[in-house]
Assembly symmetry: C2
Homo-oligomer: 392 residues x 2
């Protein structure tokens, strides 16, 4: 077991009607003027933005609105948000939405608090935020885990770049999680969410490490629950139990809990970010589903015992110890079958990715052949390209 720092300071208010507390909660941070950041008009149409402004009014807290965040949030919107915060003297940022809105809000919070640095440097990894602005969220999609994570993914679609950076500054001060607010999420987006949630922990699970049996068992619990909840949510979008377990899985899958004692890089996320950067219509979760099984079939022989543990504990495969590879492949096939059952793709061609782009994707993912991805065996440019080819 490797040494680690565990730091999950986000205070979570979980359950029905928790958004009613938002004014009171923000008042507790001594806020005077709040940037309310949101995405499409659905947050307005649902009445959620009105509720927030009403609750802030009741506390005598001023606010300014900035909507319009799209999936794969853009650095331009972040810059606009920072400018608005400066002009208005904002001292608290509230994100209302899913992972894209939350990540945009995080980056605004960091850029606004560190005016001496160009905010894009945080995404590119050439600078780290030293401070941040207090921030919280009302979550409306269970998927990205951004509500408790230290991660923030920003795109510059003009340059075909989409990258994430980790920082303690990216932790929300609070997260309001009412599962009922996700009842209206479409079946497709729900499926994408289930994949993203499970993958946050599956990828940690397959990172190098050993002797972490407590972490492993917790990870298996989160993965299985995410898969079960995802399917149940699709079967009945207003199944509170399913929406609640899925939402809580979203938070725990990506807050650090499921990697304690292991080295971490979310390898398939790295592969996927290049895909949705080049093809912005690709939903992140769908991209992950399209790639995972190929990644797994490419690497499983390098770490067979780990795949057997996964097969047995997550997919209830009876291990064939005479032919252990068959058991590993059986688990991968079961996961592929699950992805199909919830309407997810299991290949890149289903997402209209073109063969002639694969080399560019591999070049970008390997940072022009200057980095390898983490694994039992590190994955070079050639390996990355081979995985993209298998996934096509």
């Amino acid at each position: 077991m490797q040494s680690f720092i565990y730091d999950t300071p986000t205070r979570v208010y979980f359950g029905k009607d928790q958004e009613q507390k938002v004014g009171e909660i923000i008042a507790g941070y001594g806020a005077k003027k709040v940037l309310i950041h949101y995405g499409t008009q659905s947050a307005v149409r649902s009445g959620l933005i009105d509720l927030v402004t009403e609750k802030l009014d009741a506390q005598g807290i001023a606010y300014v609105l900035l909507g319009g965040v799209q999936a794969n949030p853009e650095i331009q919107m972040v810059r606009e948000g920072i400018k608005l915060c400066r002009a208005e003297g904002v001292d608290f940022i509230l994100a209302v939405g899913g992972g894209s809105v939350l990540d945009s809000a995080k980056d605004i919070a960091n850029g606004y608090a560190n005016p001496e640095v160009d905010v894009w440097e945080f995404t590119m990894g050439t600078a780290q935020p030293a401070k941040t602005t207090p921030k919280g969220c009302i979550l409306t999609i269970s998927a990205a885990g951004s509500e408790m994570s230290d991660s923030c993914v920003i795109s510059d679609s003009g340059r075909g770049i989409k990258r994430g950076y980790g920082s303690p500054m990216n932790r929300m001060n609070f997260a309001i999680e009412n599962p009922e607010l996700t009842y209206s999420v479409s079946a497709y987006q729900t499926a994408c969410g289930a994949v993203d949630i499970a993958m946050h922990t599956i990828e940690r699970y397959f990172c190098p490490g050993q002797d972490t049996y407590l972490t492993d068992a917790i990870a298996e619990a989160v993965i299985k629950s995410a898969f079960k909840a995802g399917a149940d949510c699709i079967a009945d979008p207003k199944d509170y139990t399913a929406r609640a377990n899925m939402m809580w899985a979203s938070s725990l899958a990506h807050n650090g809990l499921t990697a304690c004692g292991r080295k971490v890089q979310l390898v398939v996320h790295q592969l996927e970010h290049e895909v949705s950067a080049m093809y912005p219509k690709v939903a992140h979760g769908a991209g992950l589903a399209a790639l995972w099984c190929s990644w797994a079939r490419y690497v499983y022989k390098d770490n067979l015992p780990r795949f057997l543990q996964y097969a047995e504990h997550v997919w209830n495969v009876d291990i064939d110890y005479d032919h252990p590879e068959r058991s590993a492949l059986a688990a991968i096939a079961k996961q592929e079958e699950y992805y199909r059952s919830i309407g997810m793709p299991t290949s890149l061609h289903e997402l209209d990715v073109k063969e002639e782009d694969l080399e560019t994707l591999a070049l970008r993912c390997s940072r022009e052949k200057t980095r390898s991805l983490l694994g039992a065996r590190p994955l070079s440019y050639e390996d990355i390209l081979a995985i993209y080819r298998m996934a096509l």
Copy 2:
């Protein structure tokens, strides 16, 4: 699933040599003068206190020492600590030890920060701390979970009272957890620790609630890991993997994670506190082991499905659906057998508890028949007495 607030702000530094960072960490809180609170001379003999003072010296941070905390920490020591903090102008409290030292430090931190209230009122539940003093710990025993919990248990042995109170003010700002620091914990204390850790989560698991399958699966992971790690630590006290998994289980078992969405009261803890309050030589973990199986046999029929889930998932019992009670009892017997295998008692007479004291214990535990304990069926004075009798 019930609504809940999840709030685990403690920053954990986990792994070998993490105590070397203590000066640097405390400097990060802007501390000028630290109360170093510890227990018996073993922390001094091991060199750990010297290391702490050396690291504080290197940061130019002053300190004052207060040792001598005993198992079942006393309100008198808390009062002494508060007096010392006032006299010395302490602004940070560092606990070096196990749960007793940590709880004593928490109560000092609360009493010192709230001079208008008599600190004993927090324990009695007649007042709640509104503020606290920044505090951290270096953990040397894996058991109580106090390093991440919101709980604090204090005794007034003169009056035979031992009680716990929960408060957000009881959360440590940081916890240093180096599993190697627990290598010297005796087999008996290690066994008591394994019981206490597992019980923090088992008791939550059996609290009223439903539709919490993610929480349940995480709870099962923590319980099984605690039992495995406990036995492995006893077999080889310097097994790093075992000590590490046990230490991490200690923190997760009692920080709130394993009860999310369920109603909580640690019922067997309530039964046990009266026993070790009356018989101060009884180690808390041993008292829990002596009581749990009787509690379980008394209540299992009221919540058979839950006991079957526990039997199957934690003790790998093949459920006999024609005779489900047999399966529940088989799991209870397995747990009893485990307790014996690690040298724990499974009855009160092994702890020299006398029959003539049982009524007094039940009266105290029921607060003179004014409260019931939580359960599928609430446990009245008569139930409590019956359980003590079964456990004798």
